[in-house]
């Protein structure tokens, strides 16, 4: 990949004014879809993504049901107005792949044996995309699953790290993704300390790879704190209320 312009200036500021280990502003609003069993709206920089969970519920068609555990179905979809040039509402190959990797990043956290012959449906709708939408989608979906009261081993938190101007930075934005050197989205279970999603495009040498992975996990831990406080806020009012109990 050829970089057309410098993405980090002399003072270490990135194109959107952040320093290299700074996350974009993240806000999570739990329970915003009234019909869903669990839901969350995540605003991750300019990303605006809704995740909604339905289930555990009966499986249709019935032959898809598994006798020993729950079926998980996941759809990642972008609204036509979410991108710079309009996106056709029909699912693309990219969305199909992302739906699959998101499902596989969330499944390890779910105790599926608790719901045999049932299905859990996870729907992720990107209303506005700004780079890193799969990570933001995973983080929102994980909160929505917890909001739906589904038994989980851990939360799943996701964040990307990458290489921009030969520096390792966390939480790659749209410009850095398109013009930068490497992008590595990671999903992580913060308490079990296990990685559940790992992708990379771009080139990293082995040193860079190690730093990049460590930095991505640091980002995941920051996202985890925000996920946790969003759930506490919904169920206990505020953090203080929880401590008083």
């Amino acid at each position: 990949m050829v970089q057309s312009r410098s993405l980090i200036d002399e003072s270490g500021k990135r194109s959107d004014g952040r320093v290299i280990d700074e996350l974009r502003e993240v806000k999570i609003n739990v329970g915003i879809i009234k019909n869903a069993d669990g839901s969350a709206l995540i605003e991750f920089g300019k990303n605006k993504i809704i995740a909604a969970v339905y289930g555990p519920r009966e499986v249709h068609p019935k032959h898809m049901a598994l006798s020993d555990r729950c079926v998980v179905r996941c759809r990642y979809h972008m609204s036509p107005f979410s991108t710079d040039t309009r996106k056709s509402p029909a699912p693309s190959r990219r969305e199909t792949e992302i739906s699959k990797v998101i499902r596989e990043s969330l499944e390890p956290a779910l105790i599926l044996e608790d719901y045999p012959r049932a299905a859990i449906d996870i729907f992720i709708e990107v209303l506005q995309a700004d780079g890193g939408s799969r990570c933001a989608g995973i983080s929102a979906a994980s909160v929505a699953l917890a909001d739906a009261g589904i038994n989980m081993r851990d939360m799943v938190s996701a964040c990307a790290a990458g290489k921009v101007d030969d520096k390792i930075v966390i939480d790659i934005n749209d410009t850095e993704d398109k013009e930068g050197g490497a992008d590595m989205p990671v999903a992580y279970m913060p308490n079990l300390k296990k990685i559940t999603l790992l992708q990379l495009d771009g080139e990293l040498n082995s040193n860079e790879f190690n730093t990049c992975l460590d930095e991505a996990i640091r980002g995941c831990l920051k996202v985890y704190e925000i996920q946790r406080s969003s759930l506490i806020e919904k169920y206990f009012g505020n953090e203080k209320g929880l401590k008083e109990e």
Binding site: I50, R57, P89
Partner: protein, 274 residues
């Protein structure tokens, strides 16, 4: 092939009986009067990547609409006007009864009825959106995502579309050396009127405004009427297997005019247009 089908939302017989009794006493189960519409909340400019956008809440029904502008060939037979395409999708996040996949007949009807109101009212003066007559014109997409379903998608989607369109800032394209160039400037959309749709349903002998999901599962017939800023009727759609008498249609039309004007006033207050 279209076939009559069972409602996916099931309302128990007891609840139905309760609903009918309550309605005959002039009150609905959610405490509304028969003519009363649910609170309407319109939030503008929620999607920065769109040229115009709106997040509309009509009671618990929620719709996000966004405007995207491109250039392309005009439609056949309409060589001297811009193209406008309105779509609607009921997202699977919106209700436990929605399945992902291509739109079903109800969703296609929804998108077409919303489109008809905007198109037939000539809300946008499309003749002002032409770059090279017969060859290159503006293409205006208004896409609607329904994110929570609680009845009356027709009106909620229509309010989202007109709010997004009326508050939009369209990019200015120019032709330079036979190529389309985005000048980076924006222009006001050529709005001529604000079409507002008002839906009324019939349950037994009673007429109800703005039905919620539970009421829609029990209704016999539905009539959507769109009026323009002058109070003229510009589009209509009757739905379901029930029927209306001539007097009922006339009273529904009158109600659509009055309610339409109220909602138009609300939108004008938000957007600051004449």
């Amino acid at each position: 092939m279209s076939l009559s089908k069972k409602s996916t939302v099931i309302v128990e017989n007891l609840r139905k009986k309760q609903m009918r009794e309550s309605i005959s006493a002039g009150k609905r189960l959610d405490e509304r009067g028969l003519d009363e519409v649910r609170p309407l909340v319109i939030e503008l400019d929620v999607i920065k990547k769109a040229s115009g956008s709106a997040w509309v809440k009509l009671g618990n029904t929620e719709v996000v609409a966004g405007v995207k502008v491109e250039t392309g060939e005009p439609f056949e037979g309409l060589e001297n006007s811009g193209a406008m395409i309105i779509t609607a999708e009921v997202l699977p996040i919106a209700s436990p009864h929605v399945e992902p996949g291509p739109p079903d007949e109800e969703t296609i009807e929804l998108a077409r009825v919303v489109d008809r109101g905007v198109r037939e009212s000539e809300m946008l003066d499309l003749s002002k959106l032409v770059l090279i007559p017969g060859k290159i014109v503006y293409t205006i997409f208004v896409d609607c995502s329904i994110i929570n379903v609680d009845g009356n998608l027709f009106d909620a989607a229509s309010y989202a579309v007109i709010s997004a369109l009326a508050s939009s800032k369209l990019p200015v394209f120019e032709i330079k050396d036979d190529k389309v160039v985005d000048t980076g400037k924006t222009q006001e959309p050529p709005i001529t009127t604000i079409p507002v749709s008002v839906t009324t349903v019939k349950m037994g002998d009673y007429l109800l405004s703005d039905p919620n999901t539970e009421e829609e599962a029990c209704m016999d017939a539905r009539l959507t009427i769109t009026t323009n800023s002058k109070g003229s009727i510009v589009a209509m759609q009757k739905g379901l297997k029930g029927n209306f008498s001539v007097d009922e249609v006339k009273s529904i039309a009158e109600k659509a005019r009055v309610k339409g004007e109220e909602i138009r006033g609300k939108l004008k207050g938000l957007i600051n247009i004449g």
